[in-house]
Assembly symmetry: D2
Homo-oligomer: 361 residues x 4
């Protein structure tokens, strides 16, 4: 394989370069070019050198970064894909634990899976690469366009709700009419995944609230209005009345203080999904009374990371549905578009960002 341009880092020490690289091995029966690649907190964490678990692929002193990607097939010897197809490559690759063996490396039991662009496997921010067909998900809805770049973050949301569905099977979570009517969900944070979690919570039938410590811009406001999500700027208004109870919380902030503050607002049988990570977030005290609260109310807290192929498929399905139901609004979630070569977006979060992407040619 000839030299190609790629965004690289050195894991776990960090840094970011757009440079020509020579990647000897890129096995796979489908050839790809990226159309659009998204960046997220994990990418910025790797570049900042703050994610100790990241590491370079064996035999390389660099790591091609990038795991959120929408690609086009340039060549294929697989019957499942043909030139011109839009595809999303899967991030995690299985090891040999029981969960990996059944296509659920998102639930890897021993940590021996790999993640493209993160742990020991080159990522997707490079001019071209090959993949095996079983690591690719096809975008069937041609109207979806660029919105398909949100498949990777959305798949996490789908898996987290699967986790919610499983853990809540410990009791009857629904009301006496079999629905979620009257149940309250809170999504902590206002990044792209906070929005996607809010939208899915609405789909479930929750009264859905999104909360953050600062105001949101016009695009987020339009999104919230169109989807019927209630946004709360906790820096300005008291968040909830005294007797208000939460049934579901999804945290996308990774901030212990916020997590435990809202946990104390939970109703009996409440479920808290931990999704956001921020290793540098300051600690918060958790008291004996907090433990008591969780015990007496049968509270469940579930960490949820990554997702499997089935969730990519459902993610595309949700994006497609919302894209049609809410006009062009979903597309506006892509707030900042960069050119290949630009590196500032990896170190500075642009003002008003919901999702920043690199648009490849």
């Amino acid at each position: 394989m000839a030299k190609i341009n790629a965004y690289t880092t050195t894991a776990p020490s960090g840094g970011i370069k757009y440079q020509q690289v020579d990647i000897k091995e890129s096995p796979g029966n489908v050839s790809l070019k990226p159309l659009m690649t998204g960046i997220c907190g994990t990418d910025r964490g790797i570049v900042r050198g703050s994610l100790s678990f990241a590491y370079d692929p064996e035999g390389y002193d660099f790591l091609v970064i990038g795991h959120e990607s929408l690609c086009v097939v340039t060549d294929s010897s697989s019957p499942r894909f043909k030139k011109g197809d839009h595809v999303v490559p899967i991030v995690r690759r299985p090891g040999d634990c029981p969960n990996c063996r059944i296509g659920r490396p998102d639930n890897c039991s021993d940590g021996k899976k790999h993640e493209a662009g993160i742990t020991g496997l080159h990522g997707f921010m490079r001019e071209s690469f090959n993949e095996f067909d079983y690591n690719l998900v096809k975008v069937n809805d041609t109207d979806l366009g660029d919105v398909a770049v949100l498949t990777e973050p959305m798949k996490n949301v789908v898996k987290a709700f699967e986790v919610f569905d499983r853990v809540r099977s410990r009791f009857i979570f629904e009301n006496v009419y079999s629905t979620f009517d009257g149940k309250n969900a809170l999504i902590i944070g206002s990044g792209n995944e906070a929005f996607l979690y809010s939208f899915l919570a609405k789909d479930y039938g929750f009264n859905t609230h999104m909360i953050n410590r600062h105001p949101i811009g016009m695009v987020p406001t339009d999104l919230c209005e169109s989807f019927g999500v209630d946004f709360i700027d906790s820096s300005k208004e008291p968040d909830f009345p005294e007797d208000f109870k939460l049934d579901l919380i999804v945290d996308t902030s990774g901030d212990p203080e916020a997590i435990f503050r809202y946990l104390r607002k939970m109703s009996h049988n409440g479920v808290l999904i931990l999704f956001g990570t921020n290793g540098k977030a300051p600690a918060t005290p958790v008291s004996g009374e907090d433990i008591d609260f969780m015990v007496e109310r049968n509270i469940t807290i579930a960490g949820s990371v990554d997702a499997a192929e089935i969730h990519y498929l459902k993610a595309l399905d949700y994006l497609s549905k919302w894209n049609r139901l809410h006009g062009g609004l979903m597309k506006k979630m892509i707030t900042n578009v960069f050119q290949p070569g630009e590196v500032g977006l990896f170190t500075t979060k642009p003002e008003g960002e919901i999702k920043s992407v690199i648009k490849w040619n």
Copy 2:
């Protein structure tokens, strides 16, 4: 109904008296006398006045305490029970939420259930009372004897493992041979419920460890040996080697510091059951890295309180099995026996206590 002797408190302010009381209403089609009543941390908490959720029954300025009980039927107009039957009365009584409606007040969605001896309903530490047959569980194994007084604490253990089974359905928890072989469980604490949790963890096939900050006596040591549970006195020995991983933790201490210390030893897909409560336990800091740890490993934390009739039945089954398999050892869990009228046991935990009971005549 004539005056009878009873242990009473005033909830939630506390105190304990053994006195004659006049309880006008004791509805039910089965008449009972207690044979043996156990006391636990909740009873002591109520007496100490530290459980704010406790309250007297409507129309009374006192609360008969006691929810762990083994009784004998003295009269019955129910076809399900006859004079001389040994029975265990159920603690929680349903409200009208979806869970209460299906006999699962242990999973009450709105907190409107009642608990005998705790919240708005007279308990079982009185010379006699009536109950409806549907609130009673029969002890069929006559060899069980006094050990049946452990049914109430054991039923909590059975329910907590039901919770474990439900929440772990989010992934394949077992090894590649469908068993728990090679999986490690840790039970924090060394009270009677810590032992019961350890025994059930062994039954599941876990390498089972029990940990506490002080040494245990001869009876506990014999129990641990007979059941194959590994006891660790964390005041003397380092608890676990660096690379040791826990798959299941059950906390019976309510101590945040211990809980989060061992949480950080969890393997991927680890499950932590919160069962112990100690509102006065000092707070511990929970950091961004802790949250990160829980997310990246798909950790689940589940509070679990009380249990339903089905768990009382299974509790009796386990006690019966263990009683036969481990000779007279189960009986030795009843370490301290008191007479009706003695009140010191409510304020001072006897040395070497696993379970203290009052033996009624």
Copy 3:
């Protein structure tokens, strides 16, 4: 209440009239007029007098028929609905069994539920009636239009797939990539519900086949093509090659011969959903080898009837999605439109019918 026009039968003896009736009681805080009511095999069975379980409401010598309905709110004292809202009324009303108590009368344990237009409760084919808000589901997607009349049949499909999801939790049904890719579904029949089942099977990711003993018309062909469903006219072509295996079968025919014929084509871990009913269908022999086949392959057969409010909500969601994704095709499922007063449609199935409806003014 004044006299109104209604379609009535006498249950279970049958017959059909469009006549003025005097229904004294029509309790409820929302007043409704039907916009469109669908008819199905159950309606025709009642009219034919062949459904022995149907019965008139207490105090009436007739039964207003009709359970598939799209209505408009004409007046409301409920905060949940306002004049002009389009709603779908729920068919089943709970008794007091555990399933009814949690809003799941579709899973009624003792048969003491009621069904509007079928068992002891007046149905929806009348000029006006009242309902309580908790028996109504709102149509939020205004683009859905008449397609919303399919909500009632679609809700059965949603529930049946819930049943499929539950029973298949006994093993890993998915392939080693966590998806349904490569799995084959067969829907037996070609009525409106066969189409809806096929569409949902496609959504799950099944290679989906629909089979019947006669050719289908142009509309059905267009629907199959647009959704990617493979239609097989078993009167003309051999149905499946020798080594072809089915993973999911849904029967909408109620015909034992067809059911067991295709059952014998099932793969290991196959799931057969029984949905269609036809009491008059001739019997088919089931042999010891058939039983052996089901045992050795861990086959599951699950009857599924009716659905709960949550399924109505999801049904609307699917209809809305498919309506947008497949242009005006969904609307074409309403093949035959009749005026109030016409009664022939109850006794004669129109040529080429997918769904026949009565359009109210």
Copy 4:
């Protein structure tokens, strides 16, 4: 390996010999001798030549028969077993399907697993053989003695109840008190597995009935009495009153006529487990009304075959418990003991047989 004596057949044509065989390969790190081997309907079916799916191991023109076995370790290089340990070898060995990959070859998705003594793998009726430790389950309860030879049939029962628990999660199967009180189970048949199913049904809390077309002897009668199982000889007495309803049926007969006869006695939400196989059993007609019955009542039918290691472990647990609770009765289930070399038991079922075994020296 030297020549050893073994019971052999030629699969699938049948026959039975006790002869010296030369088995070159018997890989494994544990050496075993059989103590007792049970025979069952499958063995007799293979010998009769009526099980077409049986086949000889590759490279052999015979198959060592036998899959129910209790063995003693004669030598071991595995840390998990030592000389003198009693063990039960596992029957099925995994292929590469998703279920096999996680230690559930009992749920094999593609039929590519192997079964010792049945399909392509030599069985356990030979003087000695080797096994890998991961194919062996240790008998820890030394009081169990010969009863441990029932582990293999009992593991099927444990798995079948797991299937019951999974499929019944589609609704609330329990009563409004969370228990099985008032629920009726019927076990069809009176072989050893019928007894084991009855005992486990009692453990669940079912009113348990066992039915067969002929009277049972004294041992079965004692077993039924001790366990509280109601035996019905359907040749003499009418089986159930008109209004009697069954909630769970387990068939061990494989007889379609009996299966569908009792199916028609099922309550709403009834579950029928198919376990018995008898390919030669005559066919029975299944009508449109039968299908209707299953649909309207949400009936579930589940074939269940074999079991995984976890079920062997639980099987030993149940046998141990019942052995202690019911004195020497469990041992009496071994009704007929033969010497190595005797072959008549493979072709003629002894009078009064519950379980026939060969006792090795």
